[in-house]
Subunit: 390 residues, 2 copies
Amino acid sequence: MATNFIFQNTTKIYFGDNQLESLPQEVKKHGTNILITYGGGSIKKSGLLDKVKSLLENAGISVFEFGGIEPNPRHTSVNAGAKICKENKIDAVLAIGGGSVIDCTKAIAAATFYEGDAWDLVIHKAQITKALPIFTILTLSATGSEMDCGAVISNLDTNDKLGLVDPHLQPTASFLNPEITYTVSKFQTAAGSADIIAHVLDCYYFSRGHKLEMVDQVMEVVLKTVVKYAPVAIKDPTNYEARANLMWAASWALNDFLTVGIPQAPTCHCIEHELSAYYDITHGLGLAILMPCWLEYVLDDSTAADIKKFGVNVFGVDPKFSDMEGAKEALNRFRNFLYNELGLDSSLTALKIDKTNFEIMAKKACFGEVLHGYRDLTPKDVENIFEMCL
Amino acid sequence: MATNFIFQNTTKIYFGDNQLESLPQEVKKHGTNILITYGGGSIKKSGLLDKVKSLLENAGISVFEFGGIEPNPRHTSVNAGAKICKENKIDAVLAIGGGSVIDCTKAIAAATFYEGDAWDLVIHKAQITKALPIFTILTLSATGSEMDCGAVISNLDTNDKLGLVDPHLQPTASFLNPEITYTVSKFQTAAGSADIIAHVLDCYYFSRGHKLEMVDQVMEVVLKTVVKYAPVAIKDPTNYEARANLMWAASWALNDFLTVGIPQAPTCHCIEHELSAYYDITHGLGLAILMPCWLEYVLDDSTAADIKKFGVNVFGVDPKFSDMEGAKEALNRFRNFLYNELGLDSSLTALKIDKTNFEIMAKKACFGEVLHGYRDLTPKDVENIFEMCL
């Protein structure tokens, strides 16, 4: 069975400490006006923003700022950021933050070259034709946005949260310093780790596509890395090994190296986007609640061997179990990891979410019909999964 | 302990069958005059050359040819190829072959913009300032040259075989079709597989540098992939899974993803280059003879744990062994794999190489002084290793 794929990832990664010194020279290849974007302002308190501004300004680069980008970033923020770029002849954008800030910034980079509402680009009413060069300084290991060409943008007017994938959105260079993540809270570390796991599991580990065995094993290495080091980072936030392994694992989980040749069908991501869109919850937390229920829902004789394999190779489940028993034990171990070791909430009820919107959310997750994936799901299936999560 | 590295790999990979259809459009981004380079002519017999020429010519691209590139390619071939490029205003080069053809073609791409002898570029008497866009169609899974920016060129006048590494030599796009390697002989499959293993072992698995655990585990996945699938490809040359896994493993072994942050010190490669330079032997075969002797030579209380770990994680050696016993068992298993499973020669004597040139070769391998690496080696050490290989 042939395995066909096209792979290219052009992002330049600067990993480690003291790498920011190279930022001005990278930016100056593209111009001298830069927009720095960020979220709630923790980078002001930590002094990172001032440090980066000084570095750039000392190199003769004019710095503009756009802060206050929300978790689950809004299309209104994209429009506001793009307005600044247009008005100030910005040559490049620099996101300092996690996935939300980076995603919003990618959309700003593209919306700068579009005259209408940026939401048009998200819903493909208009095509992306160009984008400003995108730089990132990562502050949270989670989404992989620092090394992929995707972005997820929310529209609170319509309760939509949608993904936008375009080669123009590939970052030019990303700066990954594990030490910057020492101050990430236990909760955000846990939720980010669940997000990394979800990218691997959801996007391709569980897949009907044919995988090269080598790539399958690398997926398991990424999963094992998170399973080992996320609890370490939670207990010991300044543990360099833990933060460094999590940071590089996050990038690998979604930088296309692992997706090669596999039809991507991010089932849990599609379902979770409805939760975030309706309740504005943390993406990784929503995924952590959904993933075990999804796997339990699709567990039958045709999937048991795959789920058992996940348990054996990632959680050390005894291979002597039968497929079905091994799969059940895998789910036990997975839940124990997410809810005990990472300390994440295990139910939607704990987030005060009830069944009110399940029907409409399920329908939207399925785009009205069927959510194709490892197992195809109807709106009724998705509704059942939501109810298992209560 | 901080792990600092810069990673970027821009090569676009087309993996699988029917991907060549995209070749003309990729080439036409750069121009309409292309030089196709190849080796001994097996691509003529197989019909691949005619197929590629038709594809390109039907798209309005003018094709020039340069065949007969040697294994261990010579600087004289680089000069001859560059002359064709200069005289015919070539816009891009397309290597169809294994590492030797690709390496020679990379050097041609750079030498086209240099007026003197191409050897000047290899010995850094002159700097590479520019290179033609480089395309490759890979016919042998081995060197990883299809996805890195290195080339190795030989000078028979001086008995030198030297590496040239420059960002300009990074291929623009490479086409990897595992089916093309169905006709690779048992010997070349075995030697290529030894080369893949050498890249991982020699360049970074055995290293004094600090490795991220995740990356270390991915190295072991690449090694295990070769250990599993090389014997399958030798027994069953048209086994798609085996050929596909070997092909992608070869690219991963040297595309910088695994080298991140590790000081590269390719001990066996440096030593082997002397064997190839003096006796023109197949690179992978030379490596297969050298690697176990090198590890045995450096085996002591300070290295036993590392070598045992290699045995445990790659060959399934029982972890209950002591470090020293486990390391010895690892070497037994490694030798069994190379000489019994792959069927490669196990000694220099079998290649009719005697100790005549060991002293001068050892001195050259150490650049006169010390060969820095996992363990630093003096010329006397290298001479001892050569003697162990008899």
